[in-house]
């Protein structure tokens, strides 16, 4: 392996490592715009020029491969001066409209200019005018004046989404990013171009002008939009409710995970966050003779426990692959092991959808593999024995977790079957036909308001984190289950999800060997029989150049 010296520090790196990456390993930050580890090398921004001994010209660190014995300097006067002037060039025709630019606060031009800027404009000419606020697709807005033509977005659509909607038109200082005639930037991954745009040229139409980015807080978690389990950040604000009508979640951003989603996430996941702040059930509800009451939690839990006990085992529980492993584990302990309920079935609330070989999976549930580990096979509601038994009057009560059985399965005459049961309970986060119908409604937290683990389609168990407090009086399902167990007189000694997880690891063979720590940091297990993930790999992407 070549040994290279950067600013006096030596490091050994694998052959083929770019100088910019070797520097990163030494905590030496070489500034850059066009370079992106997930894309091919364009080498056009010239920000990462460094001095390499024995080479007269400055070299770009993003393209230069580390060679044995190479001595690199990233901070010489020549380098710093050049960097300063590259920035001068980049900002020459930039409109400096930071006060109205959404990127302000997370803009690489601002960041690097603070560090390397010239601070004294020498431009006495008129700036070149280009189009502003051009919608290039349903999710992305282009400001050509702010663009530094780094071509990251073009390379993304060529190499990652493989849809090639974008290109650079015109020449020289008149160059502009543009969609090809008759096209729009409307692919399942469009939103990523906003993430990788280092400046304010591409902004997110969903996020624009919602809030200044410095008011945002961010927490790491997972996406629950499909069986991939992309690692994401939820960016939210709770201090300034006047920004965005009290909506807490402002946007989702992908978070790098080499094994799961690399740097990317899909638009379906990215924009699928609205339900956290809309149409939520915030208090327990009970319907008696057409009237809706708002009972206290202990009252409704007592009521439900009473009904479950009276029904003996003649209940049907509809679980969902949207639940965490811990919740499925608790449900199993309570309904299967203790109550021996007649039916504990797993029904998907979402029909299978679009799938590709990039990230998106047809299974729109985050935890179908986890549910399999508990022995659940997703059942088709049409033929489910539980529904037949309801229809036959052999079931006294139903407990539905999360899903809207009536809406998603409206083509079936489920309602008729369910009308035959004498009571029903719905545990979920958002209003739906099912929640409007159920006699007892227990408000649940959404997944970003709780923590737990999901097992993705490859069998990788990953932890998701609580980002926000549950809205209103809602509670995470695992808490509801523990409290329900208590009301039922079932003794479960758990207070935290970690305790449930540890117990689950002991009892469920699939999870053997996992620790909460491990699944939180890197995710654990990957079923050996599963095929390797088909997301594009870096080397392949680079090879496209």
């Amino acid at each position: 392996m070549p040994k290279i010296t950067i600013d006096g520090k030596e490091i050994e790196v694998p052959k083929g490592t770019r100088v910019i990456e070797a520097a990163k390993q030494l905590d030496t930050h070489v500034p850059y715009y066009c370079y992106h580890p997930g894309l091919s090398i364009a080498g056009n921004c010239r920000m990462c020029l460094v001095e390499v001994e024995k080479i007269p010209k400055l070299q770009i660190a993003c393209h230069m491969e580390a060679q044995d014995g190479m001595v690199v300097h990233t901070n010489t006067e020549k380098v710093l001066k050049t960097r300063q002037h590259v920035l001068e060039f980049l900002l020459l025709n930039h409109p400096l409209d930071c006060p109205v630019c959404d990127q302000a606060g997370e803009c690489w031009l601002q960041d690097y200019y603070m560090k390397h800027g010239l601070y004294d404009s020498r431009l006495n000419e008129d700036k070149i005018k280009k189009p502003k606020a051009v919608p290039v697709g349903p999710t992305v807005m282009l400001d050509a004046e702010r663009c530094i033509l780094c071509s990251r977005c073009v390379r993304f659509t060529d190499e990652i989404s493989k849809t090639s909607e974008l290109g650079i038109i015109n020449r020289g200082a008149h160059g502009e990013i543009s969609v090809f005639p008759g096209k729009e930037l409307n692919n399942p991954y469009s939103g990523n171009v906003v993430d990788i745009c280092p400046v304010g040229a591409l902004t997110d139409r969903d996020f624009r002008f919602k809030i200044r980015v410095w008011y945002l807080k961010s927490k790491d978690t997972l996406c629950n939009g499909c069986a991939r389990g992309c690692n994401i950040q939820v960016q939210y604000n709770t201090d300034r409710p006047h920004h965005g009508k009290g909506e807490r979640v402002k946007r989702l951003k992908p978070r790098y995970n080499e094994n799961v989603n690399k740097w990317w996430m899909c638009d379906e996941g990215r924009y699928g966050y609205k339900y956290h702040d809309h149409n939520r059930i915030e208090t327990p509800l009970r319907r008696i003779g057409g009237k809706v009451e708002e009972p206290a939690w202990d009252e409704i839990l007592r009521d439900l426990a009473q009904k479950i006990q009276n029904a003996r085992n003649k209940i049907a529980v509809f679980l969902s692959p949207q639940l965490s492993n811990e919740e499925l584990f608790l449900a199993q302990q309570i309904f299967k092991d203790s109550l021996q309920a007649k039916h504990v079935v797993l029904v998907s609330p979402n029909p299978p959808g679009f799938e590709d070989d990039i990230l998106i999976r047809a299974d729109k549930n985050p935890n179908s593999r986890g549910a399999e580990a508990f022995g659940y096979k997703e059942e088709n509601i049409k033929s489910a024995a539980a529904v037949r038994d309801c229809e036959a009057g052999a079931v006294e009560g139903v407990v539905v977790f999360g899903q809207d059985l009536f809406e998603h399965l409206s083509h079936m005459n489920i309602r008729a079957a369910f009308e035959k049961v004498s009571w029903s309970a719905f545990i979920g986060s958002n209003h739906s036909v099912t929640s409007e119908w159920a006699e007892m409604v227990l408000p649940a937290a959404t997944y970003i308001e709780k923590e737990g683990t999901f097992t993705n389609f490859e069998g990788r168990t990953q932890k998701f984190n609580q980002v926000l407090e549950p809205l209103g009086e809602s509670k995470p399902e695992w808490k509801i289950l523990i409290e329900l167990a208590k009301a039922l007189g079932i003794h479960l000694h758990f207070d935290r999800t970690e305790e449930i997880f540890d117990e689950m690891v002991l009892k469920i063979p699939y999870f053997k060997g996992l620790t909460y720590e491990k699944v939180a940091s890197e995710g654990g297990h990957e079923l050996p029989q599963m095929a390797a993930p088909t997301i594009p790999d870096l080397e392949q992407a680079e090879g496209l150049l």
């Binding site: 090398i41 364009a42 080498g43 056009n44 921004c45 010239r46 920000m47 020029l49 010209k57 400055l58 393209h63 001066k81 050049t82 002037h85 590259v86 001068e88 060039f89 980049l90 020459l92 025709n93 020498r122 431009l123 006495n124 000419e125 008129d126 070149i128 530094i148 033509l149 071509s151 290109g167 650079i168 015109n170 020449r171 020289g172 200082a173 008149h174 160059g175 150049l545």
Partner: protein, 431 residues
């Protein structure tokens, strides 16, 4: 002095197949097959000291020896006939008058590099030369000099003629390859070099029209003879395109290393109206200008480099004493601002900025710091980019205000100079 290529430059005449054959045409190509193996042929060209005459001056034989054989991929030959360097028009003469000379050279180069498919990327504006070349290619196919079994030697070679669309940057060899592949003409990052990863990711030889056109003579009379024509390490002759304020502008075929003074005064017959010389661009617009006291220089790659300019494409642009140097530089920089591909920040922004500063000065609104700024921009624009376009802009940009400092200062202070060309015509300024 003996003429090689330029003996065919007869006004209004194109040498067709029959006339070319009658003059010994295609015998050299046949000789290449009969007298050499590919390796030996490369050695012969190396020995001739033939330099790349597109502008970079890289030894042609050496370039060929970098081509990896047996990679499992085809090797391509690409002829750069984009001839976009302002002040250069020699390839046009070859294509117009004796296209078979190029085709014969291509056959020789193809055999030396084991190429079976060759492309000619011809400048879009060269409508006439394109027509002439295409006709010549057809004639060569008809004669069996191209196709499946050329000269009956069992060797296949096809030639595809492709027209460019008018971008200077597509004359940069990797920009050319991108364009030929159907993409936007953005020069590629190097390494890998085209010799290894070129057209369609295959090893590729790229040569200029003129370079290939000399191969016939090297084969006919031997490498030693050719190498002795020029100066040391600068073998042979080359075609100088002489334009500007001379009495007899045109293409002159002269040995490398000939003094610039001889070209201007002996061959081009001196300055028009016997005025005084003011400045000369020695090697195409991208070369630094020379002043009258520098014209003793020998016109080869090494001697001109020593003078901090370059032999480039041998486009000699002569300016007499009436020239407004600000106008000359403005026109020059307008070209680079217009032709920068826009990929690299320093070139994209720098060329356009420089042009706008010069435009302002020309309108009489110059500022005292302008010259300093121009030179400063120049030093951060050159040497920091993917291709050499920015260097090509930086070289003249530095030389004009440095060599004509007083004139530029005078312009800034007074808004104009005494040249009949100044003040600058409004149409130049509005572009």
């Amino acid at each position: 002095m003996e003429k090689l290529i330029s003996k065919y430059f007869v006004t209004g005449k194109t040498f067709g197949m029959d006339e070319y054959l009658a003059d010994g045409g295609y015998e050299a190509a046949r000789k290449a097959f009969e007298g050499f193996d590919p390796k030996g042929l490369i050695e012969e060209v190396k020995k001739s000291n033939l330099r790349g005459l597109g502008g970079a001056g890289f030894p042609a034989g050496m370039k060929w020896s970098f081509i990896p054989q047996n990679t499992g991929k085809p090797v391509y030959l690409v002829v750069n006939a984009d001839e976009g360097e302002p002040g250069t028009f020699k390839d046009k003469y070859i294509l117009n008058h004796v296209p078979h000379l190029l085709i014969e050279g291509m056959i020789i180069a193809a055999y030396a590099n084991q190429v079976h498919k060759a492309y000619v990327y011809i400048r879009g504006e060269y409508v006439g030369p394109h027509r002439t070349l295409v006709r010549a290619v057809e004639e060569a196919y008809a004669k069996g000099f191209l196709g499946k079994d050329i000269f009956g030697k069992g060797y296949a070679l096809d030639i595809v003629v492709h027209r460019g669309a008018g971008a200077y940057i597509c004359g940069e060899e990797t920009g050319l390859l991108e364009s030929l592949e159907g993409k936007k003409g953005f020069p590629r990052l190097k390494p890998p070099f085209p010799a290894v990863v070129g057209l369609f990711n295959c090893p590729t030889v790229i040569n200029n029209v003129e370079t290939l056109s000399y191969l016939r003579f090297i084969l006919e009379r031997g490498a030693d003879w050719f190498s002795k024509l020029g100066s040391e390490k600068n073998g042979g002759m080359r075609l100088f395109s002489v334009s500007g304020h001379v009495k007899k502008p045109g293409v002159y075929e002269l040995p490398l290393g000939i003094p610039l003074k001889d070209i201007i005064y002996d061959h081009a017959d001196g300055i028009r109206d016997d005025r005084k010389l003011k400045a000369v661009v020695p090697g195409g617009l991208s070369a630094a200008i020379l002043t009258p006291d520098e014209i003793e220089v020998g016109m080869d790659f090494d001697q001109l480099r020593a003078k901090k300019t370059m032999a480039g494409s041998a486009g000699v642009i002569v300016m007499d004493e009436t020239t407004c140097m600000l106008k000359a530089l403005l026109v020059t920089m307008r070209f680079y601002a217009h032709e920068s591909c826009g990929q690299c920040s320093p070139c994209r922004e720098g060329t356009s900025w420089v042009y706008r500063i010069l435009k302002r000065i020309s309108k009489g609104r110059g500022r005292s710091q302008d010259i300093k700024n121009l030179l400063d921009i120049c030093s951060f624009m050159g040497g920091t980019t993917i291709c050499a376009l920015a260097d090509g802009a930086a070289m003249p940009l530095r030389s004009y205000p440095e060599k004509f400092k007083e004139e530029f200062e005078h312009h800034i202070q007074n808004g104009k100079c005494d040249s009949p060309d100044c003040p600058i015509a409004e149409d130049l300024v509005t572009a």
